[in-house]
Every structure is written in C-alpha cells, then in structure tokens.
Amino acid sequence: MAEIQTYLDVLPTARHEDDALILTLTGEIDLHTSPDLRTTLLSLIQQTQPKNIIFVLSKVPYMDSSAIAVMVETLQRVRKSGGKVVLVDLQPRVKGLLEIARLNTIFHIVSTLDEARKLK
C-alpha cells in the first residue's frame, strides 16, 4: 500500500493498494476544479498503472457533468486492460446525475470501500 501526495483540495488522499488506485474525493467538484482533477488523475494512472480505480465519494455532495466526464475518461483508460471503475457511497445529487445520464450501468456502484475492494 502506498500513499500518494496530490496537492489538490478535492483529492487530498490517493492510495495505491494491490492493483487498485483508491481516490478519496472531497467537496463539490465542478468545471472550475475538474480540469486540475483530470490532469492529476491521468498522471496518477500513468504513474501507477492500476487495474481498477476506486472513487470514494462519501464527502462529495455534488459534482457536475464535467467531473462525471473526467471519471468516464479514467474508465476509458483502465478498460483497455480489462479494469473497472468503482464508485463508493454516492450522495443523492451525484446519484441523480448518474441516473439521469444513464451512467449508473457503466460504473460499478457500491456502498462501502470493503465491497469495492472485493470487486476484482
């Protein structure tokens, strides 16, 4: 397990655990913050080459479609090597956005980090 420093307010913690990259996001993520998040995520993916990506979203009350697009882009990257993106503990508005955009079937959605870890 390796803790990775990111220097981003919305992503204070990133962890490489087994073959997964665990990203704990914090706060509202919108088009002002999503470009930096994207740059950081793409760099982390390149650096750690994870099979799966786990986004822990307990502390994200809202994200707009630019943030969702960033998560879709991370899925594009890991899917090439058979990986998946797992979203943990979605808050109602984020869940609503994924549902309305019919993206709830593209991502794996679970309630706890333990459940996410079991999805190999």
């Binding site: 088009l31 707009d64 630019s66 697009a69 879709v72 609503g96 019919r102």
Partner: protein
C-alpha cells in the same frame, strides 16, 4: 422555511406609457418547478426576460441566490447568464452547426475545459435528452420536437442550478410535449434544479408544476398548487384553467378598447 432561489420584489416594467408589470412580488424556492401562467399580453414573457437579465428592471428588484440583478454590472450579468440555463421557444440553435457543436458551444466559449471533457459532456447531455444518435445532424435535419430537446441539452451544458423555459410545449404534438414535460420533471427531481416555466398550455402546466401563479395585466391574480388552482372559484382562474369560452377574459375583449388589445398583444 425553504431556501429562496429567486426573489422578485416589487418588480416593475414600463414600456412607453404602459405598465407591463406592476410592482409584483414572487418567491421561487430552490428545487421547485414554478409555472407562470397568463394569456397573451399578461406580462409573463417580460417577467421571464427580466429574470434572465435580458430586459432591464424599471422598478423594484429581482434577487437570484441573494444577488440583486439591478446592482449587477454588465460583466456580472454575463457571469450570471452563464450560471442559468434558458430554453427559448424556438430552441435558438445555430443552423450551420451540428447538434453536438450547438451543445458544445457554451462549453467552448465560457470554460477552459479540455476538448476530451467537452466531447464527453456533450454525449452525456445528448443522451439525457435522447438525441445522442443525432449528434452529427444539422438543425434543419431534425424535427421541431428534437430541436426543442437539443435546445434543452444546450441549456443544460453548463450544469445550471436554475433553468428557465419559455413556452416549452409551444408548437409540439401532445406526445412530444409530454416527453419534454417528463424531462423537466426528471431534471427537477433527480438533480434538484429550480425550474421556472412560462406557458399557457394547461395540460403541460398541471403535469410539471409544484406551484403555479397566474399573471393578468401585469399583476398576479392567483397562486397555488395545481390542485388549488383547479379548485379555485375565481372566475378568471376558472376560465384560464378550464379554457372556458365565457368569463372575464372574453368579456374584457368584447368591452375593451380595440387599440389597447392590439398593443397588449405584443408584450
């Protein structure tokens, strides 16, 4: 008390010697769908244009999320307009651009998002309104209902917290109109978007509204839930809600000055 998204306070609009909106008050709550009803010349479209900052306010004020539209500079108003979504009657699409480029336009013009993100966002918005498979078509190649949905996708491009709809059902067949209504309801319920809808289509109004207000000759004459409006005994409300031939509106037309009627039609 629910949060107020928009507070209309003694808002007045005067065109020449005619008072189109006469010191009206209205609170619109965060996350609700408010329908503004009224016949031609009632002032409802003028009120919507004042709320989106495209028509100056002559008296009183309108506060959106606590910020006064009257106090905003031109730059502030431009920023404000980026934070709201507006679906115009015509859809207001650029005919020379594909549907996808029309939706991408506000994102390319007003943000620094990378093109990869914009392309994904456009796909998401088009899927949301059921037009993803028509992304590469020009507006001239799609139906009126599809143009309206494309206009809605563009209004949603910047993920606004408030959406304004100007006659969303106008010119649509009943099925397409019901589809647009369903979208308005979904956006409201799933995303918590505040919706302000100007219409005189009663079927649509009853489907989507949490609350309704009826505007007549520049003043609110009634407000309430759809059920309360249906049960109203006020002759004017009943005539409007049930589309009755006899009532104050037709009586006014018979007895009113021809010139006044002609002038009020253009509000």
């Amino acid at each position: 008390m629910p949060d107020i998204a928009i507070k209309v306070s003694k808002a007045t609009k005067i065109f020449g010697s005619r008072t189109v909106l006469d010191a009206i008050d209205l609170d619109i709550y965060r996350g609700e769908t408010l329908v503004i009803l009224g016949g031609s010349g009632s002032g409802k479209s003028t009120l919507l244009r004042m709320m989106i900052g495209s028509v100056p306010i002559d008296g009183g004020d309108i506060l959106v999320h606590g910020k006064s539209l009257c106090d905003m500079s031109r730059t502030d108003l431009n920023e404000y307009r980026k934070s709201i979504g507006v679906l115009f009657q015509s859809g207001a699409l650029y005919n020379s651009m594909t549907i996808a480029d029309n939706v991408a336009l506000p994102l390319r013009e007003h943000t620094d998002l990378p093109e990869e993100t914009i392309e994904l966002m456009v796909k998401i918005k088009l899927e949301l309104v059921g037009l993803r498979e028509h992304a590469t078509k020009l507006p001239s190649e799609i139906s009126g209902g599809m143009k309206k949905r494309a206009g809605l996708a563009r209004a949603l491009a910047l993920d606004p917290s408030i959406l304004f709809y100007d006659e969303p059902s106008a010119g649509l067949d009943p099925v397409t109109s019901a589809e647009i209504d369903e979208l308005i309801i979904k956006l409201n319920k799933l995303l918590g978007v505040t919706s302000v809808v100007v219409t005189h289509e009663m079927d649509s109004a009853f489907r989507i509204a949490d609350r309704m207000v009826l505007l007549d000759r520049g003043k609110f004459v009634a407000s309430g839930t759809p059920e309360q409006m249906k049960k109203s005994t006020d002759p004017l409300v009943r005539q409007f809600v049930y589309g009755l031939i006899d009532g104050p509106l037709t009586e006014r037309k018979r007895t009113g000055a021809y010139e006044s009627d002609l002038l009020m039609d253009n509000i």
